[in-house]
């Protein structure tokens, strides 16, 4: 009964979405207030229906209803409760439902908070948002219905892929989708603005917080994913330039660019056509990600079950959404160019350069991701593009970007005095060089790039702090004055400072853990030990453990420094009998200086009767998580920034607005 209710709610949601995509659009065209207002009611109803469908699926997982095919394929009665819940979105159908639910959530939020938007813009945004939902709901009902029953029901389920049985999975996909789908709203705003033919500071003030929501959620989702890969996959790596990682990274880069140029539209009304294009591209990249993950187009560790039929369906959706919006762009955007003028040295040109570099970076990742596919189609050669490509293309692009990031916030709008700016940042620059030099001496040299990037990390943190100190006139005004200024700073200011400094912190972690990583692989008998980075690891014994839905070998390793035990590491090697799949559970000792990371490998009987231990020392890796967390906090603070009042609500909502 519950699954049928869920299925029925999905069908109803499709019908509501259809109405929501047509009626307000027509109403906005005719200037009919009643028809436009329909969009808001429909948005609420659509959200409630999809929430109902989602809860129905979760309920089916909770009670292990093995008459539902989706539950059979991805759950097991013995699975821990948390993974029963998260299992609902740990598969193609369920995650698609979550995707559509978020789409409706953003529609509902516009209906709820959009009171001060011009009625026609609000109606059009809601209609476009519903149009996207229509596409995905048809896709779901036609090819990927999560509520399909199976008769006769099996006795038990096939369990969830053990790699996905991790607390990280409970939060990583929802955050990632919140980001992906958040850009849908920005996209809807862009398309609505193209239809209206008008983009003004009020539009930008609306788009900015939604871009921030998507940007923050996507960034946090990517960071959680990296963290999950770090401790679950057992290679001690946190980023592999895997196609699926790349497709989540690209909308984030595009979103970063959008975030910066939307404020130019807001303050100076320049870059309008470019901003709209970025808004379309950010969501296009999200859709592209959905397409690649679910079609089996590229090989990846993350891909869902390969199904070319679904692939063709999503490609059609992609073609309508991206192709349609870009065509609309080609038609309407030429009217949008122009705007406030500015000098060569100004905040505008700084942001222009920022956007050029970010676009180039995004394009680089796109080329690297799709190159193998196109190469294979054109020449038949199978190639793979790995970290060396990105190290030689993406990383160098980051150098000017990071330098600019430190300078940009000091540049005033319209026209800047370069000499003045330099004198303000000279201290931070010199201190960064000193820190890089110190790091080089302490670490006994090391690759030039690594030392350079440690300097950049310092530069980002220091220049952000200097800019903050500048703003509150620290040491120039009485301390009490400065404190008053500090508490009175606009939240956007805090957001920027935290985001820039957070990236600096994360860069330090990325550099340290990539360049100075140490690795030891040895076969040990109980009682033997190995040494890494000044630690001595003694393998005490290996225990056999039975978990709720797995069996496990657990190594007990004592970590010694100067013959004193300081910690015990318990890496595991699990075997999940239902999925017949082994996983490694790494044991990690986290310190500010670096992580000690131990993995119990396969028992190599050919070599000896010992246990294969892989041990890594990952310097500074914790700072990646700290840095990304600081960036996310910056994003959240900035979202909550009070929006300057644009237009007083003079008219009641239902009153018709004149058509243009």
């Amino acid at each position: 009964m519950i699954p049928e209710l869920g299925h029925y709610a999905l069908v109803l949601a499709l019908l509501v979405a259809l109405a929501q995509s047509i009626i307000p659009l027509y109403g906005a065209h005719r200037g009919a207030g009643r028809l436009m207002a329909f969009g808001e009611h429909a948005a609420y109803i659509q959200f409630l229906l999809l929430a109902l469908a989602f809860l129905a699926l979760v309920q089916s997982y909770l009670v292990s209803d093995f008459t539902v095919l989706n539950v059979v394929q991805n759950s097991h009665s013995l699975k821990p409760l948390l993974y029963k819940i998260s299992g609902a979105w740990g598969n193609h159908e369920g995650s698609l439902l979550l995707w559509v639910l978020m789409l409706a959530l953003f529609g509902g939020l516009v209906a709820l908070f959009g009171g001060n938007l011009p009625a026609s813009l609000r109606a059009r945004v809601l209609a476009i948002q519903a149009l996207i939902a229509v596409g995905f709901l048809i896709f779901m009902l036609a090819t990927s219905n999560p509520f399909v029953r199976v008769i006769p029901p099996p006795l038990d389920g096939r369990d969830l892929n053990p790699l996905l049985q991790d607390p990280g999975l409970a939060f990583h996909p929802p955050l990632l989708y919140l980001g992906y789908v958040g850009f849908s709203l920005v996209f809807s705003f862009a398309v609505a603005a193209l239809i209206e033919g008008r983009i003004d500071p009020a539009w930008a003030r609306w788009v900015r917080p939604w871009t921030l929501v998507a940007w923050t959620a996507l960034g946090a989702g990517i960071a959680l994913g990296a963290r999950w890969a770090y401790y679950e996959l057992g290679w001690g790596g946190w980023w592999f330039w895997d196609p699926v990682e790349n497709v989540s990274f690209m909308p984030w880069i595009a979103g970063t660019a959008l975030l910066h140029c939307v404020s130019v539209v807001e303050k100076r009304e320049a870059f309008r056509a470019w901003t709209v294009l970025l808004a379309i591209l950010a969501f296009s990249m999200s859709l592209l990600g959905t397409f690649i993950v679910r079609s089996g187009l590229l090989t990846s560790v993350h891909a869902f079950a390969v199904d070319p039929e679904r692939g063709v369906f999503i490609l059609v959706l992609l073609f309508i959404a991206i192709g349609g919006s870009l065509a609309l762009y080609a038609w309407r955007a030429p009217k949008l160019s122009g705007g406030g003028s500015f000098q060569t040295i100004s905040r505008e040109s700084g942001l222009l350069l920022n956007n050029l570099l970010l676009s180039a970076a995004c394009g680089t990742v796109l080329v690297g991701t799709l190159y193998p596919l196109f190469m294979e189609l054109i020449s038949g050669d199978v190639v793979s593009v790995g970290p060396p490509f990105y190290n030689q293309t993406f990383v160098p692009l980051m150098i000017p970007l990071v330098i600019l990031m430190g300078i940009g916030p000091f540049l005033p709008w319209k026209k800047a005095d370069l000499g003045k700016v330099f004198s303000r940042i000279l201290g931070a620059a010199l201190a960064s060089v000193a820190i890089a030099a110190l790091a080089a001496i302490l670490l006994g040299g090391g690759p030039v790039m690594a030392v350079l990037f440690l300097g950049f990390a310092a530069w980002l943190v220091l220049s952000s702090l200097v800019e903050l100190a500048d703003r509150i006139r620290l040491f120039r005004a009485p301390l009490r004055d400065s404190l008053a200024r500090l508490t009175g700073l606009p939240r956007r200011q805090w957001g920027m400072t935290l985001a820039h400094a957070g990236l600096g912190i994360a860069i330090a972690g990325m550099t340290g853990s990539t360049v100075w990583k140490q690795e030891q692989i040895e076969t040990l008998q109980p009682g033997q030990s190995l040494e890494i980075a000044g630690y001595e690891l003694v393998l005490e014994r290996v225990d056999h453990i039975t978990g709720p839905n797995y069996q496990s070998e657990q190594a007990v390793i004592t970590v010694m420094v100067d013959d004193n035990p300081i910690a015990v590491l318990l890496p595991e090697r699990r075997f999940y009998p239902v999925q017949r799949m082994p996983t490694t559970e790494a044991a990690i000792r986290i310190t500010a200086g670096g992580d000690l990371y131990a993995v119990l490998g396969e028992t190599d009987q050919a070599l000896s009767e010992g246990y294969l231990l892989r041990v890594y020392f990952e310097p500074l890796v914790i700072w990646i998580w700290v840095g990304t967390l600081v960036m996310s906090i910056g994003g959240i603070i900035s979202i909550a920034a009070r929006q300057p009042v644009t237009k007083a609500k003079t008219k009641p909502k239902a009153e018709p607005q004149p058509a243009e």
Binding site: L297, G311, Y329, A330, L373, F575, T603
Partner: protein
Amino acid sequence: MRKGTKGLLFLLPSLIFVAAAVGFFLGLDPDRDPRAIPSPLVDHQAPEISLPAVEGLGLPGIEPAMLKGAPVTVVNLWASWCAPCRIEHPQLMDLAEEPGVRMLGIDYRDQPAAAVRFLKELGNPFEAVGFDQEGRAGIDWGITGVPETFFLDSEGRVRHRHTGPIDADTLKNNILPRVREIGGLTG
């Protein structure tokens, strides 16, 4: 900028997207396997191998002559310590039932006693099993890991290679048609 060029500039994103979409469509060809790793051995003579028998197994080792003659010779690299090999094994048993197929195993970096136990427990699909203690054959054949399977024609040329375990679907939809094609057998 002239008006025409400017319009073209705004059209550019659409054009790039359409080109990409055509590529995506071609890439969705169901016969295309993005996981396929081409082996330099494909369509070349298989490397000569001569491996001793596994002690206590009661099967002969591998002689170079065994790689030719049968319509299809299947060379499977496996080990008792390899968990995916366990998953793959039932499919190898099915494959051995196919007419015209000669199954050869290479026991990769294993212990004889464990290997004997493995085949006793799961059944033996092989006519002969060579014992590759140092992993020499693995290097000669350029494997990425165990299990890995090579399909040779009657001339001893490598015609197909499969990396990783062969699951039931792959056997039915991918491997068996290839085996019949190599052996010149239909149905």
